[in-house]
């Protein structure tokens, strides 16, 4: 550097900045250069907040020079899905319509908490329109591209988050997950992602999609960075009515505790269907490494996915009804047509789906009396080609767009915490879900860390650009 090379983790950057081996300004400039060079291919960023980032980095360096303590993410560049409010930017949430909104007066809570820990926001990231997407494609901003093969999807809806971290433009990104939108890009882009328990992290000042299913969480290239970011973002927030008032439960001190004593099982039935061989191989590798031989059945998982679908489309259209009436032609057609259909679903179906949700939650929680961790595929396949309309699962040709998340939806439907871990298969990586009981993110991260230490899970270097 002293520069901060793309290979430096967030933890390494923060340590180097704190120890004055590099400056926060240098780390920030290095990220801005990577973005300028590589985002022409990846199309991960919709906004680069260079001036703001440089000002924040200078402030951190000044604090260090003054002998003040800086946070555990000192000088670490990060970026956020563009549904997070960023002061001075209209929160577009992947849409054309929201660009007409006034600039946000204040950052989202999670950005404030990351910056309070010393992190440096460098920009906002591409995403599927209004988060109703599994592909990472966007009708207005173009597709986020996969860092291992730019002709392939980054996954969605947090496509820019997956692409930016998978491409090593930034070590940490934030995204949202309603039905799989953290876990799917993690899988396709070969990185780690954490979808915390529903209600754990504040969603204040982020643009919603489905209030009863929306989660926010981090992406990173390693488990330590994932835990670093997650830990600094915890805490109650009265600005999000769903955010719980639990005490902080740091995971960093627990990562290296190992997996001894943890009861690990493989999700059977529904979760072993509709998979291409690479997804089967990834789960098998993880299960073998963890010594998992037991299989458990999540009861009625297909119905859980169906109920999540119904709640998503009806709550989603309730949010957007006025915009559909006034500006239907300005929506991404694929989003608009699904929301129109959602408006036409009778309320009786929604009520039944919500009642089924409580039944399903109770049955799945019973499973956690005899297991600590459940393994499941994150996606049915590695990243499809951008624009690919169909794929064949179990001999049936199905549309890609709604079916990428069939293995993630039954999990987020009841808010379970999940660490998505990347298995570096060739030519493309693919993810596995490490699922824990509510509020046990520590267990999911411990298992992810163990897999990383064993070399079974890691984020491969980007090779597509």
């Amino acid at each position: 550097m002293s520069e901060a090379p793309a290979s430096m983790s967030a933890g390494e950057i923060a340590q180097a900045v704190s120890n004055r081996k590099i400056t926060a300004v240098a780390a920030t400039e290095a990220a801005l250069v990577r973005i300028a060079v590589h985002d022409k291919v990846l199309n991960a960023f919709t906004d680069v907040t260079a001036d703001r980032a440089r000002a924040k980095a200078r402030a951190i360096d000044a604090e260090i020079a003054a002998g003040k303590s800086v946070g555990p993410l000192a000088g670490v560049p990060f970026a956020v899905k563009n549904l997070f409010d960023v002061e001075g930017l209209a929160t577009r949430a992947g849409s054309k319509i929201n660009r007409d909104l006034p600039a946000s007066p204040r950052d989202a809570t999670l950005i404030e908490r990351m910056e309070a820990a010393g992190a440096v926001l460098v920009g906002a990231l591409n995403m599927g329109e209004y988060a109703y997407d599994f592909t990472g494609e966007n009708a207005h901003d173009g597709p986020s591209r996969n860092p291992h093969d730019p002709t392939r999807m980054a996954g969605g809806s947090s496509g820019g988050s997956g692409s930016a971290v998978g491409g090593a433009l930034v070590p940490i990104a934030l995204g949202s997950d309603t039905n799989g939108s953290i876990r799917v890009p993690s899988s396709f882009c070969g990185i780690f992602g954490l979808k915390p328990t529903y209600g754990r992290l504040s969603r204040a000042r982020s643009f919603p999609f489905v209030a009863s299913l929306d989660h926010l969480g981090p992406f990173a290239r390693g488990v330590t960075d994932l835990a670093l970011a997650y830990d600094v973002m915890q805490g109650p927030d009265t600005d999000d009515p769903a955010c719980v008032a639990r005490p902080l439960e740091p995971t960093m001190p627990l990562l290296a505790e190992g997996i001894s004593g943890l009861r690990v099982a493989i999700a059977g039935g529904y979760f072993q269907q509709n998979l291409l061989p690479e997804a089967v191989e990834a789960v098998a590798r993880v299960a073998k490494a963890l010594g998992a031989t037991r299989t458990v059945e999540l009861p009625e998982a297909a119905r859980a996915r169906a109920a999540a679908f119904i709640i998503t489309t009806t709550e989603g259209v309730a949010l957007h009804l006025d915009r559909l009436r006034k500006r239907a032609g300005d929506f991404d057609p694929a989003v608009r047509d699904r929301l129109f259909a959602g408006a036409m679903i009778p309320a009786v179906h929604v009520d039944k789906a919500q009642k089924f949700r409580r039944w399903y939650r109770a049955r799945v929680l019973e499973l956690f009396q005899s297991v600590d961790v459940i393994l499941a595929p994150a996606t049915p396949c590695t990243a499809p080609k951008i624009g690919q309309a169909t794929f064949t699962l179990d001999g049936v040709e199905l549309p890609v767009r709604p079916n990428i998340g069939i293995h993630t939806q039954p999990i987020s439907f009841i808010g379970l915490p999940v660490a998505a871990v990347p298995v570096p298969l060739e030519p493309m990586p693919i993810g596995v879900q490490i699922i824990a009981a509510p509020w046990r993110e520590d267990i999911a991260l411990r298992v992810a860390y163990a897999l990383e230490q064993m070399g079974v899970a890691n984020a491969p270097a980007p090779k597509g650009f």
């Binding site: 297909a302 608009r336 259909a341 959602g342 039944k352 409580r358």
Partner: protein
Amino acid sequence: MADQLDDYVNAAARALELPLDDAWRPAVRANLEVALRLAKLVDDFPLPDDAASAAIYSA
């Protein structure tokens, strides 16, 4: 059923004041068919009369 669903789509769009363009109708109808098929899967699951919704308001 096919004609009935077309009629339903048209009537629902009018009732909801949704500006359904003719060119969009086939895709909307196809999406609704998928949603109703999935809704039926949920509906077919027996639940007791006193089953509580997961969307509970707490004062």
